[in-house]
């Protein structure tokens, strides 16, 4: 299929569904159409040629302010050029169609963003999409785009990919350059793809690898292509199953899923990482120290513009005793690829519109951070139990399992299913939060970023 046709299909799907999912904060229709025409004109071929994709809105997109989920950055100068990973994907023929919702400054796991409204899980609009790359996971799950980019500091690709049932990859720390993205915790920030298939994930990862002198965390390693090897099965791979802390803290349903996965892969080894609980604590403290230092100027000047929960956390972080940063860094360096559960919170995951500021942490935080925060810097692929976008026709057949059809309408059988008696449209059960106007294309403004724009990686 030609790039122009694929981009038009993506734009149509976004227009039809995003009023309910709220994955996008900017749709770049004009830019995407122009670039798709250029891809067709050049006759580009390859797995990414003409593939529409979108990025978490902490990636620079030329002409747009890089929001990082915040209200504060709306007044920042527009980015002068795209983030490096966006440029690399487009050089391979992919076409960026927009920017995606996220937790403010990537500090959260629910994408209940009070500035842009919450992103809703396409499989059940009453539930969260996870975060902080919630828009990235929801856009794939809703069938809006087959590929997105997100970031992962403490689980922000792994958690939403898991909750939205899509494939995700948090690569090993230092493998993908972060140039042109808004940072959170420099010691732990990773970028990575989310996709509808392993093949798209691998193709995107391959296109994005390569050195970048301006990211000091980049490992000095040559690119290691993966796409050609994905049909080889598990032969030649070293596989193990995480034991210890990961087994002790997992709920039975998660343990059973891990064992099924390990059995399918022929895993014969259990891997025990030392000091996992302490490493998790160290990661929390490193996040505190670096995140608070990053935002201290804005906490002083305009604390009222922060997300309420972020504000409380960041203020607490600023007040922590300083010497612990070094000890924490040394602790996390000591803690040490294997299947392990990520998130298992039966009955949880409901959106808490309007209740976030006063409430405690979302239950998904507690369910997820037992596992994710103890695995920093290691690679972490996420595989859905039942791959495939949210599809009203398919989901209706699973109604007994508690799922509710969410995304539509579509043409053909899916549209017929939408009209079926008894089919509930979840959005009718509650008000949709007000959306701010979408940016329709790159603006002409370009100028120096404001002083605190030093926070961005350029």
């Amino acid at each position: 299929m030609r790039a122009t046709a694929r981009v038009e299909a993506a734009l149509a799907r976004i227009a039809a569904t995003d009023g309910r999912v709220n994955a996008f904060t900017a749709v770049l229709a004009e830019r995407a159409r122009a670039r798709a025409q250029a891809v067709d004109a050049r006759g580009l071929e390859g797995p990414l040629a003409g593939l529409p994709f979108a990025v978490k809105n902490l990636f620079d997109l030329a002409g747009l302010p890089t929001l990082a989920g915040s209200r504060i950055e709306r007044t920042a100068a527009p980015a002068r050029r795209d983030a490096l990973l966006v440029r690399r994907l487009e050089a391979a023929g992919a076409v960026c169609v927009g920017a995606l919702n996220m937790d403010e400054y990537a500090y959260g796991f629910t994408t209940e963003n009070s500035h842009a409204g919450p992103t809703r899980n396409p499989h059940d609009l009453a539930r969260i999409a996870g975060g902080s790359s919630g828009g990235s996971a929801a856009a794939v799950a809703a069938g809006q785009v087959p590929l997105t980019l997100g970031s992962d500091t403490n689980g922000s690709i792994r958690v939403p990919a898991s909750l939205c049932g899509v494939f995700g990859l948090k690569p090993t720390f230092g493998r993908l350059p972060r140039t042109g993205t808004y940072p959170f915790v420099a010691s732990l920030d990773h970028l990575g793809p989310l996709a509808q298939s392993v093949a798209a994930l691998a193709a995107a990862y391959d296109a994005m690898q390569g050195p970048a002198a301006d990211d000091p965390a980049q490992a000095p390693r040559a690119a290691e292509p993966t796409l050609a090897g994905i049909d080889h099965g598990s032969a030649g791979l070293r596989l193990g199953m995480l034991g210890g802390w990961f087994r002790q803290m997992a709920l039975p349903a998660a343990t059973a899923a891990v064992e099924r996965c390990a059995q399918a892969l022929g895993v014969t080894r259990v891997v025990d990482w030392p000091e996992v609980e302490r490493a998790r604590a160290a990661a929390f403290l490193i996040t505190n120290a670096e995140g608070a230092a990053l935002h201290l100027p804005d906490l002083r000047r305009r604390a009222h513009d922060f997300e309420p929960l972020s504000r409380a956390r960041l203020r607490a972080l600023v007040a922590r005793p300083l010497p612990r940063r070094r000890a924490a860094a040394r602790g996390v360096a000591r803690a040490g690829a294997a299947p392990a559960p990520l998130v298992c919170a039966p009955g949880g995951g409901e959106l808490r519109d309007g209740r976030r500021a006063a409430g405690p942490r979302h239950p998904v935080h507690r369910a997820a951070d037992r596992h994710r925060m103890a695995r920093h810097r290691w690679p972490a692929p996420v595989r859905p139990r039942q791959p495939g976008p949210a599809d009203p026709a398919r989901l209706l057949h699973r109604a007994a399992g508690g799922h509710r059809a969410a995304v539509g309408p579509r043409s053909g059988p899916a549209a017929a299913a939408d009209r079926r008696p008894g089919h509930r449209r979840p959005l009718a059960r509650g008000p949709v939060p007000a959306r701010r106007p979408r940016a329709r294309g790159p603006g002409a403004r370009a100028g120096p970023r404001r002083a605190s724009g030093m926070k961005g990686r350029r």
């Binding site: 000091p216 409380a312 007040a319």
Partner: protein, 71 residues
């Protein structure tokens, strides 16, 4: 640590750093301070030598393992 000491710490740090803190935000900040305090105790309890330093470039190593049937 006496919980009241966290209040004292918060007041002192806010004054030092020039941070305002509205009364309604105080409980949330104290809650996260308590969490950080507890986790910091766990980290600080780990014995480290003066020469122990964090690695600036991450290099994965092969972890210890045992057989599944022995787990």
């Amino acid at each position: 640590m006496d919980p009241r000491r966290l209040d004292d710490l918060l007041d002192a740090q806010c004054a030092l750093l020039g941070l305002g803190l509205a009364a309604e935000h105080r409980p949330g900040v104290i809650r996260y301070l308590q969490l950080a305090r507890d986790l910091a105790a766990l980290v600080m309890d780990f014995p480290l030598e003066p020469a122990d330093e964090p690695g600036t470039v991450f290099v994965p190593v092969t972890p210890r393992h045992r057989r599944v049937e022995d787990a």
